[in-house]
Amino acid sequence: MDQLLDQFFNLSIMQQVFPLLVKGLWMTLKVCAIVIPVGAFAGLVVALCATSQSRLARILTVPYVDLFRAVPPLVLLIFIHSGLPFAGISLSPFQSVTLAFLLNNSAFYGEIYRAGLESIGAGQREAARSTGLTALQTNIYVVIPQAVRNVLPDLLSNTIEVVKLTSLASVVALPELLYSADMARSITFNASPLVLAAAFYLVLLWPVVRLLSRLERRVAA
Protein backbone atom coordinates (compact mmCIF):
# COMPACT_ATOMS: atom_id res chain seq x y z
CA MET A 1 0.00 0.00 0.00
CA ASP A 2 2.83 2.37 0.90
CA GLN A 3 4.54 1.42 -2.29
CA LEU A 4 1.38 2.20 -4.21
CA LEU A 5 1.02 5.60 -2.56
CA ASP A 6 4.68 6.37 -3.13
CA GLN A 7 4.50 5.37 -6.77
CA PHE A 8 1.27 7.10 -7.75
CA PHE A 9 0.55 9.74 -5.11
CA ASN A 10 3.96 11.00 -4.04
CA LEU A 11 3.07 14.44 -2.73
CA SER A 12 6.60 15.83 -2.55
CA ILE A 13 7.22 14.92 -6.19
CA MET A 14 3.87 16.37 -7.15
CA GLN A 15 4.76 19.57 -5.38
CA GLN A 16 8.08 19.71 -7.21
CA VAL A 17 6.63 19.22 -10.66
CA PHE A 18 3.53 21.32 -10.12
CA PRO A 19 4.90 24.52 -11.74
CA LEU A 20 6.13 22.54 -14.74
CA LEU A 21 2.71 20.98 -15.20
CA VAL A 22 0.95 24.32 -14.89
CA LYS A 23 3.14 25.57 -17.72
CA GLY A 24 2.12 22.49 -19.70
CA LEU A 25 -1.52 23.16 -18.92
CA TRP A 26 -1.17 26.64 -20.41
CA MET A 27 0.14 25.14 -23.62
CA THR A 28 -2.77 22.69 -23.66
CA LEU A 29 -5.22 25.55 -23.24
CA LYS A 30 -3.44 27.54 -25.94
CA VAL A 31 -3.86 24.68 -28.42
CA CYS A 32 -7.52 24.34 -27.40
CA ALA A 33 -8.10 28.07 -27.81
CA ILE A 34 -7.12 27.79 -31.46
CA VAL A 35 -8.31 24.32 -32.37
CA ILE A 36 -11.78 24.44 -30.80
CA PRO A 37 -13.18 27.73 -32.21
CA VAL A 38 -11.50 27.45 -35.60
CA GLY A 39 -12.38 23.76 -35.87
CA ALA A 40 -15.97 24.40 -34.88
CA PHE A 41 -16.28 27.17 -37.47
CA ALA A 42 -14.60 25.12 -40.20
CA GLY A 43 -16.94 22.25 -39.32
CA LEU A 44 -19.92 24.51 -39.86
CA VAL A 45 -18.60 25.46 -43.28
CA VAL A 46 -18.07 21.79 -44.10
CA ALA A 47 -21.63 21.02 -43.00
CA LEU A 48 -23.09 23.87 -45.05
CA CYS A 49 -21.24 22.51 -48.07
CA ALA A 50 -22.44 18.98 -47.31
CA THR A 51 -26.08 20.14 -47.25
CA SER A 52 -25.86 22.83 -49.93
CA GLN A 53 -27.77 23.00 -53.20
CA SER A 54 -24.54 22.60 -55.14
CA ARG A 55 -23.95 19.01 -56.17
CA LEU A 56 -20.23 19.60 -56.50
CA ALA A 57 -19.89 20.96 -52.96
CA ARG A 58 -21.84 18.00 -51.62
CA ILE A 59 -19.73 15.47 -53.48
CA LEU A 60 -16.44 17.05 -52.43
CA THR A 61 -17.22 17.10 -48.73
CA VAL A 62 -17.85 13.37 -48.51
CA PRO A 63 -14.24 12.22 -49.11
CA TYR A 64 -12.94 15.09 -46.97
CA VAL A 65 -15.07 14.08 -44.02
CA ASP A 66 -14.61 10.34 -44.46
CA LEU A 67 -10.85 10.65 -44.88
CA PHE A 68 -10.31 12.54 -41.65
CA ARG A 69 -12.82 10.45 -39.76
CA ALA A 70 -11.08 7.25 -40.89
CA VAL A 71 -7.47 8.20 -40.18
CA PRO A 72 -6.60 8.17 -36.48
CA PRO A 73 -5.59 11.68 -35.37
CA LEU A 74 -2.24 10.39 -34.11
CA VAL A 75 -1.48 8.96 -37.55
CA LEU A 76 -2.41 12.27 -39.16
CA LEU A 77 -0.27 14.17 -36.67
CA ILE A 78 2.78 11.98 -37.17
CA PHE A 79 2.29 12.07 -40.90
CA ILE A 80 2.32 15.87 -40.87
CA HIS A 81 5.13 16.16 -38.37
CA SER A 82 7.50 13.43 -39.59
CA GLY A 83 6.27 12.74 -43.12
CA LEU A 84 5.96 16.18 -44.66
CA PRO A 85 9.60 17.17 -43.93
CA PHE A 86 10.61 14.52 -46.48
CA ALA A 87 8.74 16.60 -49.04
CA GLY A 88 10.49 19.72 -47.86
CA ILE A 89 7.65 21.00 -45.68
CA SER A 90 8.84 21.40 -42.09
CA LEU A 91 6.36 22.57 -39.50
CA SER A 92 7.02 23.32 -35.86
CA PRO A 93 5.37 20.97 -33.35
CA PHE A 94 2.79 23.65 -32.57
CA GLN A 95 1.99 24.16 -36.24
CA SER A 96 1.80 20.41 -36.88
CA VAL A 97 -0.52 19.91 -33.92
CA THR A 98 -2.91 22.71 -34.83
CA LEU A 99 -3.02 21.69 -38.49
CA ALA A 100 -3.61 18.00 -37.74
CA PHE A 101 -6.29 18.63 -35.15
CA LEU A 102 -8.04 21.26 -37.25
CA LEU A 103 -8.32 18.85 -40.17
CA ASN A 104 -9.54 16.08 -37.86
CA ASN A 105 -11.94 18.29 -35.93
CA SER A 106 -13.52 20.09 -38.83
CA ALA A 107 -14.59 16.69 -40.14
CA PHE A 108 -16.09 15.62 -36.81
CA TYR A 109 -17.76 18.95 -36.05
CA GLY A 110 -18.93 18.93 -39.68
CA GLU A 111 -20.74 15.61 -39.27
CA ILE A 112 -22.47 16.88 -36.15
CA TYR A 113 -23.62 20.15 -37.73
CA ARG A 114 -24.79 18.21 -40.78
CA ALA A 115 -27.07 16.07 -38.62
CA GLY A 116 -28.32 19.29 -36.99
CA LEU A 117 -28.99 21.03 -40.30
CA GLU A 118 -30.78 17.97 -41.63
CA SER A 119 -33.02 17.93 -38.56
CA ILE A 120 -34.53 21.28 -39.57
CA GLY A 121 -37.54 20.78 -41.80
CA ALA A 122 -37.79 22.41 -45.21
CA GLY A 123 -40.76 24.37 -43.89
CA GLN A 124 -38.47 26.60 -41.81
CA ARG A 125 -36.40 27.49 -44.83
CA GLU A 126 -39.48 28.07 -46.97
CA ALA A 127 -41.10 30.26 -44.35
CA ALA A 128 -37.96 32.40 -44.03
CA ARG A 129 -37.50 32.73 -47.77
CA SER A 130 -41.17 33.62 -48.19
CA THR A 131 -40.61 36.66 -45.98
CA GLY A 132 -37.87 37.85 -48.30
CA LEU A 133 -34.78 36.69 -46.37
CA THR A 134 -31.85 35.69 -48.54
CA ALA A 135 -30.45 32.16 -48.44
CA LEU A 136 -27.57 33.36 -46.25
CA GLN A 137 -29.85 35.28 -43.90
CA THR A 138 -32.11 32.25 -43.66
CA ASN A 139 -29.15 30.13 -42.63
CA ILE A 140 -27.78 32.62 -40.14
CA TYR A 141 -30.98 33.70 -38.42
CA VAL A 142 -33.33 30.75 -38.80
CA VAL A 143 -31.69 27.44 -39.63
CA ILE A 144 -28.30 27.43 -37.91
CA PRO A 145 -29.54 28.55 -34.46
CA GLN A 146 -32.10 25.75 -34.38
CA ALA A 147 -29.66 23.23 -35.81
CA VAL A 148 -27.02 24.07 -33.22
CA ARG A 149 -29.51 23.79 -30.39
CA ASN A 150 -30.59 20.36 -31.58
CA VAL A 151 -27.05 18.99 -31.56
CA LEU A 152 -25.67 20.88 -28.57
CA PRO A 153 -24.89 17.72 -26.57
CA ASP A 154 -22.99 16.23 -29.51
CA LEU A 155 -21.03 19.46 -30.01
CA LEU A 156 -20.13 19.52 -26.35
CA SER A 157 -19.18 15.86 -26.41
CA ASN A 158 -16.90 16.44 -29.39
CA THR A 159 -15.32 19.43 -27.65
CA ILE A 160 -14.42 17.20 -24.71
CA GLU A 161 -12.83 14.82 -27.19
CA VAL A 162 -10.78 17.70 -28.66
CA VAL A 163 -9.40 18.67 -25.27
CA LYS A 164 -8.48 15.05 -24.63
CA LEU A 165 -7.00 14.88 -28.11
CA THR A 166 -4.46 17.59 -27.34
CA SER A 167 -2.64 15.06 -25.14
CA LEU A 168 -1.43 13.42 -28.38
CA ALA A 169 0.69 16.51 -28.99
CA SER A 170 3.12 15.06 -26.44
CA VAL A 171 4.14 12.50 -29.07
CA VAL A 172 5.64 15.25 -31.25
CA ALA A 173 7.28 16.88 -28.21
CA LEU A 174 4.98 19.86 -27.90
CA PRO A 175 5.42 20.80 -24.22
CA GLU A 176 1.77 20.57 -23.25
CA LEU A 177 0.35 19.01 -20.09
CA LEU A 178 0.97 15.34 -20.81
CA TYR A 179 4.41 15.97 -22.32
CA SER A 180 5.49 17.92 -19.26
CA ALA A 181 4.16 15.20 -16.99
CA ASP A 182 5.90 12.47 -18.93
CA MET A 183 9.17 14.42 -18.87
CA ALA A 184 8.81 14.72 -15.12
CA ARG A 185 8.09 11.00 -14.89
CA SER A 186 11.22 10.06 -16.81
CA ILE A 187 13.31 12.28 -14.53
CA THR A 188 11.76 11.18 -11.23
CA PHE A 189 11.17 7.52 -12.18
CA ASN A 190 7.76 7.90 -10.55
CA ALA A 191 4.24 7.91 -11.97
CA SER A 192 3.00 10.66 -9.67
CA PRO A 193 3.50 13.46 -12.24
CA LEU A 194 1.27 11.53 -14.66
CA VAL A 195 -1.35 11.10 -11.94
CA LEU A 196 -1.16 14.83 -11.26
CA ALA A 197 -1.65 15.51 -14.96
CA ALA A 198 -4.65 13.18 -14.89
CA ALA A 199 -5.99 15.22 -11.98
CA PHE A 200 -5.61 18.40 -14.05
CA TYR A 201 -7.57 16.84 -16.90
CA LEU A 202 -10.24 15.68 -14.47
CA VAL A 203 -10.62 19.14 -12.94
CA LEU A 204 -10.88 20.58 -16.42
CA LEU A 205 -13.26 18.03 -17.93
CA TRP A 206 -15.24 16.29 -15.21
CA PRO A 207 -17.69 19.18 -14.78
CA VAL A 208 -18.22 19.22 -18.54
CA VAL A 209 -18.82 15.47 -18.61
CA ARG A 210 -21.41 15.83 -15.83
CA LEU A 211 -23.10 18.70 -17.66
CA LEU A 212 -23.13 16.60 -20.80
CA SER A 213 -24.82 13.67 -19.07
CA ARG A 214 -27.51 16.03 -17.86
CA LEU A 215 -27.97 17.60 -21.30
CA GLU A 216 -28.21 14.19 -22.95
CA ARG A 217 -30.85 13.07 -20.50
CA ARG A 218 -32.88 16.23 -21.13
CA VAL A 219 -32.77 15.72 -24.87
CA ALA A 220 -33.77 12.07 -24.49
CA ALA A 221 -36.74 12.93 -22.28
Binding site: A70, V71, L74, F79, L202, W206
Partner: protein
Protein backbone atom coordinates in the same frame (compact mmCIF):
# COMPACT_ATOMS: atom_id res chain seq x y z
CA UNK B 1 7.47 8.45 -65.92
CA UNK B 2 9.96 8.97 -68.68
CA UNK B 3 13.53 8.72 -67.39
CA UNK B 4 14.71 11.47 -69.72
CA UNK B 5 12.55 14.16 -68.14
CA UNK B 6 13.97 16.27 -65.31
CA UNK B 7 12.34 15.65 -61.93
CA UNK B 8 9.08 17.58 -61.59
CA UNK B 9 7.22 18.35 -58.38
CA UNK B 10 5.01 15.40 -59.20
CA UNK B 11 7.87 12.93 -59.42
CA UNK B 12 9.37 14.31 -56.22
CA UNK B 13 6.00 13.83 -54.54
CA UNK B 14 5.73 10.27 -55.81
CA UNK B 15 9.26 9.52 -54.74
CA UNK B 16 8.66 10.83 -51.25
CA UNK B 17 5.35 9.13 -50.50
CA UNK B 18 4.93 6.30 -52.99
CA UNK B 19 8.39 4.92 -53.71
CA UNK B 20 7.94 1.46 -55.19
CA UNK B 21 11.11 -0.06 -53.78
CA UNK B 22 10.24 1.09 -50.28
CA UNK B 23 6.71 -0.25 -50.63
CA UNK B 24 8.13 -3.63 -51.64
CA UNK B 25 10.55 -3.70 -48.77
CA UNK B 26 8.22 -2.68 -45.97
CA UNK B 27 4.91 -4.13 -47.06
CA UNK B 28 5.40 -7.24 -44.88
CA UNK B 29 5.98 -5.24 -41.71
CA UNK B 30 2.98 -2.98 -42.42
CA UNK B 31 0.88 -6.13 -42.96
CA UNK B 32 2.13 -7.45 -39.63
CA UNK B 33 1.06 -4.15 -38.09
CA UNK B 34 -2.38 -4.52 -39.65
CA UNK B 35 -2.76 -7.94 -38.03
CA UNK B 36 -1.81 -6.54 -34.62
CA UNK B 37 -4.17 -3.56 -35.02
CA UNK B 38 -7.03 -5.84 -36.00
CA UNK B 39 -6.31 -8.16 -33.08
CA UNK B 40 -6.34 -5.36 -30.52
CA UNK B 41 -9.38 -3.78 -32.17
CA UNK B 42 -11.40 -7.00 -32.16
CA UNK B 43 -10.58 -7.74 -28.52
CA UNK B 44 -11.38 -4.18 -27.47
CA UNK B 45 -14.69 -4.06 -29.33
CA UNK B 46 -15.92 -7.38 -27.97
CA UNK B 47 -14.79 -6.91 -24.38
CA UNK B 48 -15.62 -3.20 -24.22
CA UNK B 49 -19.17 -3.53 -25.49
CA UNK B 50 -19.91 -6.58 -23.33
CA UNK B 51 -18.55 -4.87 -20.23
CA UNK B 52 -20.47 -1.67 -21.03
CA UNK B 53 -23.68 -3.64 -21.51
CA UNK B 54 -23.15 -5.46 -18.22
CA UNK B 55 -22.57 -2.20 -16.37
CA UNK B 56 -25.72 -0.64 -17.87
CA UNK B 57 -27.79 -3.71 -16.91
CA UNK B 58 -26.42 -3.63 -13.37
CA UNK B 59 -27.21 0.08 -13.20
CA UNK B 60 -30.84 -0.63 -14.12
CA UNK B 61 -31.32 -2.30 -10.71
CA UNK B 62 -30.67 1.09 -9.12
CA UNK B 63 -28.69 -0.09 -6.14
CA UNK B 64 -27.47 3.24 -4.86
CA UNK B 65 -23.93 2.41 -3.76
CA UNK B 66 -23.22 0.36 -6.87
CA UNK B 67 -24.57 3.05 -9.17
CA UNK B 68 -22.47 5.78 -7.60
CA UNK B 69 -19.39 3.63 -8.23
CA UNK B 70 -20.40 3.01 -11.84
CA UNK B 71 -21.05 6.70 -12.48
CA UNK B 72 -17.71 7.76 -11.01
CA UNK B 73 -15.79 5.14 -12.97
CA UNK B 74 -17.59 6.00 -16.21
CA UNK B 75 -17.14 9.75 -15.70
CA UNK B 76 -13.42 9.41 -15.07
CA UNK B 77 -12.89 7.24 -18.12
CA UNK B 78 -14.85 9.75 -20.20
CA UNK B 79 -12.96 12.76 -18.86
CA UNK B 80 -9.39 11.42 -19.02
CA UNK B 81 -7.42 11.31 -22.27
CA UNK B 82 -6.78 7.60 -22.98
CA UNK B 83 -3.09 8.29 -23.58
CA UNK B 84 -2.77 9.62 -20.04
CA UNK B 85 -4.31 6.47 -18.57
CA UNK B 86 -2.15 4.28 -20.78
CA UNK B 87 1.03 6.02 -19.61
CA UNK B 88 0.03 5.93 -15.94
CA UNK B 89 -0.67 2.21 -16.10
CA UNK B 90 2.25 1.31 -18.34
CA UNK B 91 4.89 3.19 -16.39
CA UNK B 92 3.36 3.02 -12.93
CA UNK B 93 2.28 -0.58 -12.46
CA UNK B 94 5.69 -2.27 -12.92
CA UNK B 95 7.02 -0.22 -10.01
CA UNK B 96 4.43 -1.73 -7.69
CA UNK B 97 5.16 -5.22 -8.92
CA UNK B 98 2.46 -5.67 -11.56
CA UNK B 99 3.96 -6.22 -14.97
CA UNK B 100 1.58 -6.16 -17.90
CA UNK B 101 2.75 -6.43 -21.49
CA UNK B 102 2.29 -3.33 -23.65
CA UNK B 103 -0.29 -5.23 -25.68
CA UNK B 104 -2.25 -6.03 -22.50
CA UNK B 105 -2.11 -2.42 -21.28
CA UNK B 106 -3.41 -1.10 -24.60
CA UNK B 107 -6.17 -3.70 -24.65
CA UNK B 108 -7.14 -3.12 -21.02
CA UNK B 109 -7.33 0.67 -21.19
CA UNK B 110 -9.16 0.88 -24.51
CA UNK B 111 -11.59 -1.79 -23.30
CA UNK B 112 -12.33 0.21 -20.15
CA UNK B 113 -12.76 3.44 -22.12
CA UNK B 114 -15.10 1.82 -24.64
CA UNK B 115 -17.01 0.15 -21.81
CA UNK B 116 -17.53 3.54 -20.16
CA UNK B 117 -18.92 5.15 -23.29
CA UNK B 118 -20.96 2.06 -24.16
CA UNK B 119 -22.46 2.00 -20.66
CA UNK B 120 -23.63 5.61 -21.06
CA UNK B 121 -25.14 4.85 -24.46
CA UNK B 122 -26.90 1.65 -23.29
CA UNK B 123 -28.13 3.43 -20.17
CA UNK B 124 -29.54 6.26 -22.28
CA UNK B 125 -31.33 3.62 -24.34
CA UNK B 126 -32.78 1.97 -21.24
CA UNK B 127 -34.05 5.25 -19.78
CA UNK B 128 -35.47 6.28 -23.17
CA UNK B 129 -37.77 3.25 -23.19
CA UNK B 130 -41.24 4.52 -22.25
CA UNK B 131 -42.49 3.79 -18.76
CA UNK B 132 -45.59 2.20 -20.27
CA UNK B 133 -43.47 -0.65 -21.63
CA UNK B 134 -42.30 -1.51 -18.11
CA UNK B 135 -45.84 -1.27 -16.80
CA UNK B 136 -47.38 -3.39 -19.52
CA UNK B 137 -44.77 -6.11 -19.04
CA UNK B 138 -45.01 -6.07 -15.24
CA UNK B 139 -48.83 -6.14 -15.42
CA UNK B 140 -48.64 -9.50 -17.21
CA UNK B 141 -46.54 -10.91 -14.36
CA UNK B 142 -43.07 -10.62 -15.92
CA UNK B 143 -40.38 -10.01 -13.31
CA UNK B 144 -37.98 -7.06 -13.31
CA UNK B 145 -35.14 -8.98 -14.95
CA UNK B 146 -37.44 -10.58 -17.51
CA UNK B 147 -38.86 -7.18 -18.42
CA UNK B 148 -35.38 -5.71 -18.72
CA UNK B 149 -34.12 -8.53 -20.93
CA UNK B 150 -37.12 -9.31 -23.14
CA UNK B 151 -38.97 -6.01 -23.42
CA UNK B 152 -36.69 -3.07 -22.64
CA UNK B 153 -33.27 -4.11 -23.96
CA UNK B 154 -34.42 -5.13 -27.45
CA UNK B 155 -35.95 -1.66 -27.85
CA UNK B 156 -33.02 0.12 -26.23
CA UNK B 157 -30.52 -1.66 -28.48
CA UNK B 158 -32.19 -0.25 -31.58
CA UNK B 159 -31.64 3.37 -30.65
CA UNK B 160 -28.23 2.46 -29.28
CA UNK B 161 -26.77 1.11 -32.49
CA UNK B 162 -25.85 4.32 -34.38
CA UNK B 163 -24.15 6.20 -31.53
CA UNK B 164 -22.49 3.01 -30.32
CA UNK B 165 -21.10 2.30 -33.79
CA UNK B 166 -19.62 5.78 -34.07
CA UNK B 167 -18.12 5.64 -30.61
CA UNK B 168 -16.71 2.18 -31.24
CA UNK B 169 -15.02 3.38 -34.44
CA UNK B 170 -13.51 6.37 -32.62
CA UNK B 171 -12.10 4.23 -29.82
CA UNK B 172 -10.87 1.50 -32.14
CA UNK B 173 -8.84 4.16 -33.97
CA UNK B 174 -7.12 4.79 -30.65
CA UNK B 175 -5.25 1.51 -31.15
CA UNK B 176 -2.72 3.85 -32.82
CA UNK B 177 -1.87 5.07 -29.32
CA UNK B 178 -0.19 1.71 -28.80
CA UNK B 179 2.76 3.03 -30.75
CA UNK B 180 3.70 5.25 -27.81
CA UNK B 181 4.29 2.21 -25.59
CA UNK B 182 5.76 0.13 -28.40
CA UNK B 183 2.89 -2.11 -29.46
CA UNK B 184 3.88 -3.18 -32.99
CA UNK B 185 0.65 -2.03 -34.65
CA UNK B 186 0.35 -0.20 -37.97
CA UNK B 187 1.58 3.23 -36.87
CA UNK B 188 4.48 1.76 -34.93
CA UNK B 189 5.60 -0.32 -37.92
CA UNK B 190 5.20 2.69 -40.19
CA UNK B 191 7.25 5.11 -38.10
CA UNK B 192 10.00 2.55 -37.52
CA UNK B 193 10.14 1.79 -41.24
CA UNK B 194 10.15 5.49 -42.11
CA UNK B 195 13.19 6.15 -39.96
CA UNK B 196 15.01 3.14 -41.44
CA UNK B 197 14.11 3.99 -45.02
CA UNK B 198 14.70 7.70 -44.73
CA UNK B 199 11.57 8.10 -46.78
CA UNK B 200 7.96 8.92 -45.92
CA UNK B 201 6.48 6.10 -47.98
CA UNK B 202 5.90 3.75 -45.00
CA UNK B 203 3.96 6.50 -43.22
CA UNK B 204 1.79 6.88 -46.29
CA UNK B 205 1.34 3.10 -46.37
CA UNK B 206 0.25 3.23 -42.75
CA UNK B 207 -2.25 6.01 -43.46
CA UNK B 208 -3.59 4.09 -46.45
CA UNK B 209 -3.90 0.97 -44.29
CA UNK B 210 -6.07 2.87 -41.83
CA UNK B 211 -8.18 4.22 -44.67
CA UNK B 212 -8.66 0.76 -46.11
CA UNK B 213 -9.76 -0.53 -42.72
CA UNK B 214 -11.84 2.39 -41.51
CA UNK B 215 -13.45 4.06 -44.54
CA UNK B 216 -15.80 1.08 -45.04
CA UNK B 217 -16.58 1.14 -41.32
CA UNK B 218 -17.21 4.90 -41.31
CA UNK B 219 -19.42 4.58 -44.37
CA UNK B 220 -21.29 1.74 -42.68
CA UNK B 221 -21.75 3.94 -39.59
CA UNK B 222 -23.16 6.72 -41.75
CA UNK B 223 -25.55 4.29 -43.40
CA UNK B 224 -26.69 2.99 -40.01
CA UNK B 225 -27.36 6.54 -38.88
CA UNK B 226 -29.63 7.37 -41.80
CA UNK B 227 -31.32 3.99 -41.57
CA UNK B 228 -32.20 4.53 -37.90
CA UNK B 229 -32.79 8.27 -38.20
CA UNK B 230 -36.57 7.88 -38.02
CA UNK B 231 -36.27 6.69 -34.46
CA UNK B 232 -34.92 10.03 -33.35
CA UNK B 233 -37.67 12.14 -34.91
Amino acid sequence: MDQALPPTRWTIFLDTFFKASVIDQYLPSILKGIVVTLEVAALVVICGILLGLTLALVRAYRIRAVNILIVILVDMLRALPPLVIILVVYFGLPNVGIALSNFAVLWLILTLVLAAFAEEIFWAGITATPKGQWEAARSTGLGFTQTLLFVVMPQALRITIPPLTNRTIAITKNTALGTVIGVPEILNQATTATSFAGNATPLMMGAVAYMVIFIPVVTFGRWLETRFAWRRA
